[in-house]
Amino acid sequence: MEKVSVLKKQVYPNKSTSASRGKLLKKRIKRGIPLYLMMLPGVLFFLLFKYLPMFGLSVAFMEYDPFSGFFGSEWVWFAHFERLFQERIFLDLLWNTFVLSIYDLVFYFPAPIILALLLNEVRIKWFRTSIQTILYTPHFISWVVIVGITAMLFSTQSGVINNLLHAFGLSRIEVMTDASFFRPLWVIHNIWNGMGWDAIIYLAAMASINPQLYEAARIDGATRLQLMRLITIPSISYLIVVMFILRLGGFLDLSFTHVYLLQNPLNLGVSDIFDTYVYRAGVLGGQYSYTTAVGLFKSVVGLILVIGANKLAKKMGKEGVY
């Protein structure tokens, strides 16, 4: 009996009449009913707490005023977007935000993958356990403290490093104020803060690789480096693709707090991004709408990138995000 049904399944795809396709779809839907039911709580969550509140996006198109509410505020349609695109320094802001996002993709994105690959090769158990714990901790330390510790080490007048340099008669390095240090410092902070944390996801994926693959390759005489290259990396490539596409979704969306804390008059030329700019622009009710409009602009850019990257991934035979 069962064997017959397996055979039938293999036969179906070869028939290309629409009638049988519809039949197949119906059958699949029927088979999927328990799964749809399983998804129900999640779907309700998304409708109620994610999609229903999206009417809040309408404030980007109005002069939102909390006292008049969503229905009493005046509609200004694209006025906030016009204002954004006509800002005197719009292109500077776009460039600064873009460059930081690229730094993030080029330098930050691979860091947790590399770290996970390295950790995966550490065989001494206690060593692995303890370093993993250490590496995961910085994630809990806020930007205020991270920037504070950086200043304590590197500030020009009273930083520990600069005091040492000064004591040896060397000249001080202006890490916190020299504009050329800003981007590297920013991305190093990100790596320091998030690398160990994000590596966990990759480690979980590596833990799911079938050990028999390694055993077989080992018998064929592969070195450890080859195992990493030929088995580990291809086995987690699906996850790398998913993570990369998701990261693109947040393109242009950088941590305001982090950039704001590192910002000072001397690096303003490279550190002024959309979020810090909006923070300074306008104070009264209008700000709420304008902030939402700028956020919406960034989201649309993210959406375009995600859709593009997803298409590309599928063309390359990968799974993609949706």
Partner: protein, 288 residues
């Protein structure tokens, strides 16, 4: 031939350990600073006479934090919020991630897109606040748990990890007459222990660290979590005399002690989860 491979492996090993050690040290030093300075007396901050290890140790900063009755209350609240919230998170997220990992499921791609879409677009705080009010969830932990029941990011990643479960396993279970729910709870979930452990800890940390939700949805001060309590202690009102409790003057050590109090429980529980994502889980489960 074999010996060349072994020596190559040795070089590889040395390189791995060396790099990992260097990375760990760069992370460790600032952490040591945080821990050590939480024990430094105020005078050493003023005279800046220590860099990494204070000359004298004092528990003043911890006394400053822990001496109020509300600390225990806030700590307990945080535990309740975190445990309850993480349970809901894992239940909701796995129950949605599993079906979405089935490639044959009609409509899957659309659902996936809708999930991804919410990562990019959000209606902001005010509409959510209104909805929570309408649902009568104000001033209850239900508001904290339900509004963050699923993280779309974690859902998508979890779904990707789920899609690694070999289809043969399920087919075999199907043939044994298992329904989808049983396959999910009995076969699928135990198979993805690494993913489960990973996201349990991710969600747990998110609940433990969150404070703005509580400020927003919780009015009863006795229900506030630890993070809100600590934050309020650390806000220095410029008109309050340097924030003084029991003659202990506020010092930078208090800020550091607050970090230590927050992260130490997370460091302690980490190894319990860690063992799951360090082990190959499929070992022995796929029989040829």
């Amino acid at each position: 031939m074999k010996s060349r491979r072994l020596s190559e492996d040795k070089v590889f090993d040395i390189a791995v350990y060396a790099i990992v050690t260097i990375i760990t040290l760069t992370v460790l030093l600032p952490l040591i600073y945080v821990y050590m300075s939480s024990l430094a007396p105020r005078s050493e901050f003023i005279t800046r006479s220590f860099f990494l290890i204070p000359k004298e140790f004092t528990l003043d900063a911890y006394k400053y934090l822990l001496n109020s009755k509300e600390f225990i209350e806030a700590f307990t609240n945080s535990l309740v919020i975190t445990v309850g919230g993480t349970f809901i998170n894992m239940l909701f997220t796995t129950m949605m991630a599993y079906p979405l990992s089935k490639k044959w499921l009609p409509g899957r791609s659309k659902f996936n897109f809708l999930v991804m879409f919410t990562m990019l677009f959000s209606g902001g705080m005010i509409p959510l606040f209104l909805i929570v009010g309408q649902l009568g969830l104000m001033d209850s932990y239900g508001a904290l748990w339900l509004t963050s029941a699923i993280s779309p990011f974690y859902l998508i990643v979890m779904r990707s990890l789920f899609s690694n479960i070999p289809a043969e396993l399920e087919e075999a279970a199907k043939m044994d007459g298992c329904g989808e729910w049983r396959i999910f709870f009995r076969i699928a979930l135990p198979l993805v222990k690494p993913a489960m452990a990973t996201f349990t800890i991710f969600y747990l940390v998110a609940h433990w660290n969150s404070y703005f939700d509580a400020i927003l949805y919780i009015q009863d001060q006795s229900k506030m979590p630890l993070q809100v309590f600590l934050r309020r202690l650390l806000i220095l009102d410029e008109d309050v005399l340097a924030g003084e409790v029991d003659d202990i003057l506020f010092s930078p050590a208090v800020g550091m002690a607050a970090i230590v109090v927050t992260i130490t429980p997370l460091i302690i529980i980490f190894p319990f989860f860690q063992k799951y994502f360090n082990k190959g889980f499929l070992l022995g489960s796929v029989k040829d």
